[in-house]
Amino acid sequence: MRLTDEEKAILAGEAGPARRWAIRHQIAVGQFFDAPDFVPVGQAHIMADTESLGEAGVAWLEALAALSEPERRVRVPTITDPRGLDFATYKRLRQTDAMAAIEARAIAAFEALGVLMTNTCINYQTVLPPVRGEHLAMGDTGVVIYSNSVQGARSNFEGGPSALAAGLTGRTPRYGYHIDAHRVGSRHFEVRHRPRDLADWGALGGIVGKATNSYWEVPVLSGLDSPPNSDELKHFGTALASFGSVALFHMPGITPEAATLADAFPGRPAPQAVPVGPSDFEAFYAGYAASGDRVDVVVFGAPQLSLIEMQRLAGLMDGRRIHPDTSLIVTTSPEIKFAADRMGLTASIEAAGGIVASGVCFYQSYAREMAEANGWQRLLTNSAKLVNIIAGYGYKPTLASMEACIDSAVAGKVV
């Protein structure tokens, strides 16, 4: 890789050991992906829940945090993805004091590095929305796909160590979705059944993701006659990224880099479209169906809920009561939680028996241990991303609309 004088100095250790580690790591990754050089980034976003970090990861962060202040502080705004637990709810969810203790250590280390503890996977809605053409180092696949596709910004999936490295050096290797040539459409799908609700938008993401199945493919979706809203695109994108490892999509006439179908496939005719119709949706839902089964836990999250989703959920739960054998968990960002508290939405959800957790996203918070401690198996959610992930943690997941999830939570079984 071509290095500037400043980058050579960092590599020589002149900016301290943390930045020297960071640029070494970035050069190894950059060479692997044939990056020609570095590109400055406007923000970094770190996925670093303690379940993934483990003792090894936390101890490693603490060693960085022990350096002198000029050596350890990040150089560009650096924010965090959801944490391993919420100190206000962890006892109710039967997470342990040991989990809380390692969480506190990780937070202290990040704060010493100058990282802002935003604890959110919806920062594109709530913190500092990315801008078209802006280079970023975003962690969380859902954040990357939304930033790239809906906002026209430029980021690869940056795992926690790489995002922290970008925060420390203020740059990232120029490869993948930083480069124009990788941002053109490669697959074509025609939507013949417009999704009706958020679960449907997630299902569409799952269907297209399974069919695309590569980080290096860019699906283009035609057939949508009007724009989805931000929450709909959020559920679509997170599911597409989760099922397919996809980091960028285009919707001609809707997303910013493809005004027309021809724009999405520059220099060649658009490929024959793969149709996505009602039977594809039916088959997707059928893969998770469990009508009549007892429901152990209903989860709204993955991604965290916007204020608008919180309002809808509170409206649906107002005056109702969750079945005593069923738990209902809602996850949102700390900022949205404050707003929901202030506007009475949290009170409506908790009066019905729900738990509103902030700064977490369920699957990143010791899901296996929670299942064992609470006796949970059947999980109901309107998040297609969550049904994809959570089976690996020993759950039996079912996908349903927000309304059907609430009805089932009240009945104590899948309705």
């Binding site: 990754v29 996925m47 993934s52 483990g54 926690g160 980080y215 490892s245």
Partner: protein, 138 residues
Amino acid sequence: MPIVLKCHSGLGPTVTGTALVARDNFSARYDLDRLQGTFSRPAHKLYGQSYVDRILVLQTAKGGVASAWMLREMAARGMAPKGIIFDRTNTILAQGAAFAELAMVDRFEAGDPTTLIRTGDELRIEPDKGLVTILNRD
């Protein structure tokens, strides 16, 4: 003559080990019970099998940013694979291999490695040279 497969230069040290192959994908978060050291997602083709100290040969890396931390954490507990060979990796697993100093290669000249390598093959990965050698077959 052992079979030598050329690939893109990779990450991590030279290693030797026994292959565990599947035409399937990989995410440390979605697919593994990292405490037991086994594949735990029922739909995965290696469900129930131990990955510890094996060289995994898989098609691609799947969603889930967490794998970037998890490989190092698994290695620290002695519960990691010896190396991972992909047809094509995503960025996360490459970053995770760099962080964990785990051997990883992809992009083979002869095509998809899950069709070239069999479970039980003895392999040597030389990431700096971009070479994988099948030691037990000609």
